[in-house]
């Protein structure tokens, strides 16, 4: 079965969809085009290339959180038969620095180790076993340095510096925003609530760990296939780090086996590029182990958040004061952008006239904080939505009514001063929850808790921005082609990491061009073939690329119809229509097949492209330029309201999530199945975040580096999830759509925390709400006399 004779193919695998004779329409659940290859096991992920002459590359990790590197000892490994090369920073001729905003992360450590997962050496070997041995034989001499492992200690005056050259010391970025006056507003508040919340460091735990392979081609081109969300940006990063011209690098992004932000940026790419430069033209593969992914991959930032919320006696919010400390680990990665988005969302979807928000992304010697679905919003939503319940309790007000009273509506200014000019369906979402039996009948349900059980219900209101904000252009470039064979090729610029946007692209193109599924071919992101369209992130993929794609398809359609009208010698292309495989002249029924039509058109005539740039907020917010550069503020938001019912076991502390309801305003829906997938999957991740997921770190060392100790939800842990869309048409979106990728992940933690508080009368300020934390809280409450 093994094919030793031909080199591995670069193109992702495609196969015919079984429902190939269907013409896609918008708004229907059609099977995803990628599902066929996935259910048959034929899909070739970045991790799935084997064969011709392939060698393996792997990394020697530092294993020490903070140290000066004195030397790397490669000799013993180099002497091992089967080892091809052991590379260090000395083999890198470029900047040896990577990073999206601040380039502060070495490909291979040169001066200093800043966390245990830093790469010290890169080993190339004939097979995996030799590789493992060689990595063990490689060692390094370090001069250990004192480390900083909490944001508090990192901010102390004489704290050891993670980057001596950073003007801000251990503060990667401080973001702040002031509207009105919190100081004087406080005097006008009838109630004030204050709290500090701590949320954990969390691993993405995509099933496919970081993987890829690369090859230096005979023409000098470096081809890198990687599981990535950002092929175009990766190309520039790899070029800079390795000192190559970007044109020499071709990045290809097959379907990823999950990413959730963890592949937003370089993981294996530069290492693979470097390896390929030293592999004598042989393909080199790298695939991180699960443990390595835990240690070296990025994580959702651990956060400590101080909140003070003030309101009038009638429940109208009047002032909010927040201080957010995010542990960004040793490298910027996207930490500055994360804290900025967190800041923007820290007051939730409410009108609050006086706010003072401050946020710090702080360097430490912990694992790298980076992008993770939710992107800072998951953390602040956990805080703000618990504050709302605490306020409601203090006001003796229904928590849902309190939210409704303060909810933003179209035309309002949100609490960071941005006028909401796009569809704003929060009120509709909250009203749907208010009407739902899971809410209206909760008292009866709660009263039926069995012995040693307590039941509670919790709600939250959500908002999540989409796109990059005002400075970095949120642009997509779509390209479609009528091929010489009369088929349609869609060049996807944005990676499909599992969320199904490739299939959605096919649905859009097929519906506009009226071609059935098996007449359409998708070209997945490839820097040599598709056009740059930004990252697969920020809930932007289908919004931004979809808009571009609609434009390209409409252009191509018109061109096809006009050309057909010419050939059919009719005056008006209005009389012609695309049908599967042909153009028909409607009055006469005459048809011209697309493959014939294509022969009359040259390649550029058969190809249409379209650029789309997402709208940006036009207000000039009261923040520094630095913060604008990091993406503040946004103009387009999705909204939602969640409801959860939980049952708490008083004896074990286990929180059992019984039912979950999500109502979302993410605009119109293109494919209901795919939409559901996004909502349900995000909620399951959020439930894990709420109840069990916590990367435990001691002095920079990850203690939970496997799926036995870092617990993600299994099928038996996820309840029945009901999801209702509030389909408000968003005029700027493709077919009225807004982003749906992230919003739902922000809900479960605060919803569950609110439900647990409702059930037990205690609030747990540190998540996840593990059985031991719940038990401790229950005990403390008992010893306090049971009053709360």
């Amino acid at each position: 079965m093994k094919n030793k004779d031909k080199p591995p193919e670069l193109q992702p695998f495609f196969d015919k969809n079984i429902a190939g004779d269907v013409v896609p329409s918008i708004g229907i659940s059609m099977p995803r085009i990628d599902a066929y290859a996935k259910v048959t096991g034929r899909e070739r992920y970045a991790a799935d290339y084997y064969g011709f002459d392939m060698i393996w590359a792997g990394v020697k990790r530092a294993g020490i959180p903070h140290a000066r590197l004195k030397s790397v000892n490669t000799q013993a490994a180099e002497n091992l038969p089967g080892v091809i090369a052991v590379l260090t920073h000395k083999n890198i001729s470029g900047s040896n620095r990577q990073g999206v905003i601040r380039k502060d992360q070495p490909v291979l450590v040169d001066d200093k180790v800043r966390h245990c997962g830093d790469a010290v050496a890169l080993v190339l070997a004939e097979d995996k076993e030799t590789l493992a041995k060689a990595i063990k034989l490689t060692s390094a001499d370090f001069e250990p340095l004192p480390g900083v492992f909490t944001t508090e200690t990192a901010l102390e005056e004489n704290a050891p510096l993670v980057h001596e050259d950073h003007p801000g010391g251990n503060v990667l970025l401080k973001a702040s925003l002031e509207i009105g006056s919190v100081q004087s507003a406080k005097e006008h508040c009838d109630v004030l609530v204050e709290a500090c919340f701590e949320t954990p460091l969390v691993e993405h735990a995509y099933l496919e760990t970081e993987a890829g392979w690369a090859q230096l081609k005979e023409d000098g081109k470096l081809e890198i296939v990687a599981s990535t969300q950002t092929p175009f940006r990766d190309r520039m990063e790899v070029a800079d780090a390795l000192g190559l011209e970007p044109e020499r690098i071709r990045m290809i992004a097959p379907y990823a086996g999950g990413a959730f932000g963890g592949k937003d940026g370089v993981t294996v790419q530069s290492l693979l590029g470097l390896a390929a430069l030293h592999a004598n033209g042989r393909p080199v593969k790298m695939w991180w182990s699960r443990e390595e992914s835990f240690i070296a991959g990025t994580k959702r930032h651990a956060a400590r958040m101080y909140y003070r919320l003030g309101a009038k006696a009638d429940g109208s919010l009047h002032s909010l004061d927040t201080r957010l400390y995010f542990d960004t680990g040793p490298y910027d990665h996207l930490g500055g952008v994360v804290i900025t988005l967190a800041l923007e969302h820290s007051g939730g979807p409410y009108r609050i006239p006086n706010v003072s928000f401050k946020g710090w992304a702080v360097y430490t010697n912990n694992p790298i904080g980076g992008a993770f679905r939710g992107f800072g919003v998951a953390q602040v939503t956990a805080a703000m939505e618990q504050m709302m319940d605490m306020l409601a309790e203090k006001l003796a007000m229904d928590p849902l009514k309190l939210r409704l009273k303060n909810a933003v509506r179209k035309g309002d200014k949100n609490c960071v001063g941005v006028t909401l000019t796009h569809s704003t369906g929060l009120v509709e979402c909250l009203e749907a929850v208010a009407r739902h039996p899971l809410w209206t009948e909760r008292a009866a349900w709660k009263s039926k808790a069995g012995p040693f059980k307590r039941r509670g219900a919790g709600i939250v209101a959500l908002m999540h921005a989409s796109g990059y904000g005002p400075v970095v252009p949120d642009v997509a470039n779509a390209k479609v082609e009528l091929t010489a064979e009369g088929k349609i090729k869609v060049y996807c610029g944005v990676v499909d990491m599992g969320q199904g946007n490739a299939a959605t692209n096919l649905q859009i193109a097929g519906s506009i061009l009226c071609q059935n599924v098996d007449r359409i071919e998708l070209i997945l992101p490839d820097t040599d073939r598709t056009l740059p369209s930004g990252s697969a992130s920020a809930s932007r993929c289908t919004y931004t690329f979809g808009n571009a794609l609609i434009g390209a398809c409409e252009t191509l359609k018109l061109r096809i119809l006009q050309r057909a009208a010419d050939l059919l010698m009719v005056d008006d292309c209005d009389e012609t229509a695309l049908i599967p495989g042909a153009v028909r002249h409607l009055p006469t029924g005459r048809e011209i097949p697309l493959h014939r039509l294509a022969t009359f058109m040259n390649e550029s005539e058969r190809t249409a492209t379209q650029r789309f740039r997402a709208p940006t907020a036009k207000e000039i917010p009261p923040v520094g330029n630095e913060i604008r550069l990091h993406g503040f503020p946004h103009t387009l938001f999705s909204y939602g309201a969640h409801l959860v019912r939980v049952e708490v076991n008083e004896l074990t502390g286990v929180v059992d999530v019984k039912r979950y309801l999500s109502v979302s305003d993410c605009g119109k829906i293109i494919n209901p199945h795919v939409y559901e997938q996004q909502i349900q999957g995000a909620i399951a991740q959020g439930i894990g975040y709420a109840l069990s997921e916590e990367v435990q770190v001691n002095e920079g060392k990850v203690l939970t580096a496997d799926l036995a100790t870092f617990i993600i939800p299994a099928a038996s842990d996820v309840p029945e999830i009901e999801s209702q869309p509030v389909e408000i048409y968003e005029p700027s979106g493709p077919y009225g759509l807004k982003g749906v990728g992230e919003i739902a992940t922000n809900g479960p933690l605060p919803a569950i925390a609110n439900a647990v508080a409702d059930a037990c009368g205690v609030r747990i300020f540190r998540s996840p709400l593990t059985p031991s934390r719940v038990l401790r809280a229950l005990r403390e409450r008992l010893s306090e006399g049971g009053v709360h």
Partner: protein, 166 residues
């Protein structure tokens, strides 16, 4: 020292040279290039590598390859029938949207296959229990469970409506 062992994969007999400490997944993927079974952890914790050995689902990443001598291994690549038609479980995952990134899918389908063989009419709880060792980070399992329910209904000739309600 390499040893030669023989077993069958998806009905074909194979002989492979292995080192005694290798696991079955390594042989399937690296040697036989059957990359349908995935590696999500390599430690028996995620189920992405699930294949059937003599009909029983195993985590092939921790299954010693020497133990497979003389046995029958079925992988996701072996589920389609000879004419290339999808197995009803595969078809159900496709139609009922049980697939997102798809990296858990082959393992998930193999576990479902073993379940439905032993229990053609499982309850939702039984399904969730049967796939509890197959981690999925994308779906939230809702549409996976629906896919298995639908497959069960199709395979036993029950109506789709009922499957949808279960």
């Amino acid at each position: 020292m390499k040893l030669t062992i023989g077993f069958s994969v998806n009905g074909d007999s194979v002989e492979v040279e292995v080192l005694p400490h290798w696991n079955l997944l390594k042989v399937l993927r690296d040697v036989l290039e059957l990359t349908g079974a995935k590696q999500g952890c390599g430690e028996g914790e995620c189920g992405a590598c699930t294949v059937l050995v003599n009909g029983a689902p195993v985590n092939s990443c921790i299954y010693p390859v020497l133990e497979v001598e003389g046995k029958e291994v079925t992988t996701i690549e072996g589920l389609m029938d000879k004419s290339g038609r999808l197995h009803p479980i595969q078809q159900a995952f496709l139609e009922k949207a049980g697939v997102q990134c798809g990296f858990c899918t082959p393992g998930m389908i193999m576990s479902a296959f073993a379940l439905l063989k032993a229990n053609p009419d499982p309850t939702e709880d039984e399904i969730r229990h049967a796939i509890a060792g197959n981690m999925c980070r994308c779906t939230g399992y809702v549409q996976i469970v629906e896919s298995v329910q639908h497959a069960a209904a199709v395979m036993s000739g029950r109506s789709q409506e009922r499957a949808g309600k279960e």
